[in-house]
Symmetry: C2
Subunit: 153 residues, 2 copies
DNA sequence: ATCGGCCTCATACTAAAGTACCAATTTGTG
DNA sequence: CACAAATTGGTACTTTAGTATGAGGCCGAT
């Protein structure tokens, strides 16, 4: 794009020069016919070339490029992305993870037992194993850690 | 600053014009003495005024400022805004709210007692009152509800 | 100064959570 | 099939959580 624009400038400039040559020849011819006004002639040439110079400059002056950095605020919703990889790394079994989620919902062992149709004993076993794998010692700690590890919402 | 610069430009331009007049007179005088090279004369004038025009343009034309807008994405995390109004609505006292936060961190009653230098009895009292105000019956439920009500992070 | 709310602490009790250890069944994989 | 891991369930026990109740001190407002 820049190259084509440069070429266009060169072309326009060449055309202007050609017109100039013709103009000069015409002026010169006119001057020979009536050379009683050399000052006017010189003045016209001066005016013309001044304007030409200005025009050329206008075409050639490179626009200053001002880089304006606009900070665009992008709302990032704390993705309730569940870190599945972490769950596997912790070697949490399906039941353990399921029960972890129920714990986070505030259910008691008894409540968990009733929702997943298990005995409280079984729930306790899972919960204990869960604590061991999460390296915690209570439900509340488990909830905190699970949230930090992004394995629950 | 802009005004003084403008005046400077005008002054320089005037000086250039004065020099020009002198130059023209000198050229004219030389031309009258030897008018055998009118093309060279015209050519010199053309060249001079072209350069002059370019120079004027350079001095006067305000460079086009091309504003390049670069969007920089700034991640904005929707602040886990704490609903202070809700805290007041629930009529949670300072201690109760403080202890609620410690509960959410996974601390036991004993842990809380040691961190805020209270007896476990006092902590239990606060916790019980807290449960009543939050309408829950256990720590885990309190944590869940507190998060739903956005009164803790 | 009296009253209510808050903070503090204690005792006594019940309920729930958590640990330890064991054991039977299921399930998926080599 | 055989084996490991997961799932289920139990008993016994300790610890923690939670409730109920009472009580004293502090402080601001009426």
């Amino acid at each position: 794009m820049t190259v084509s624009k440069e070429r266009q400038h060169i072309f326009i400039y060449a055309a202007a020069l050609a017109a100039l040559v013709l103009f000069l020849k015409w002026m010169e011819w006119k001057f020979l016919l009536a050379n009683n006004s050399i000052e006017i002639y010189i003045g016209l040439i001066a005016l013309f070339f001044t304007i030409l110079g200005i025009w050329i400059a206008k075409q050639l002056i490179k626009p200053k490029v001002e880089i304006k950095v606009v900070e665009k605020e992008v709302l990032v919703y704390p993705s309730p992305e569940i870190d599945e990889a972490m769950i596997e790394k912790l070697e949490l079994s399906a039941r353990e993870y399921e029960i972890l989620q129920l714990i986070a919902k505030g259910l008691s062992n008894d409540g968990i037992a009733k929702t997943v149709f298990l005995s409280v004993s079984t729930v306790k076993t899972h919960v204990s194993n869960l604590y061991f794998k999460l390296d915690v010692k209570s439900r509340t700690q488990a909830i905190e850690k699970a949230k930090q590890l992004k394995i629950i919402a």
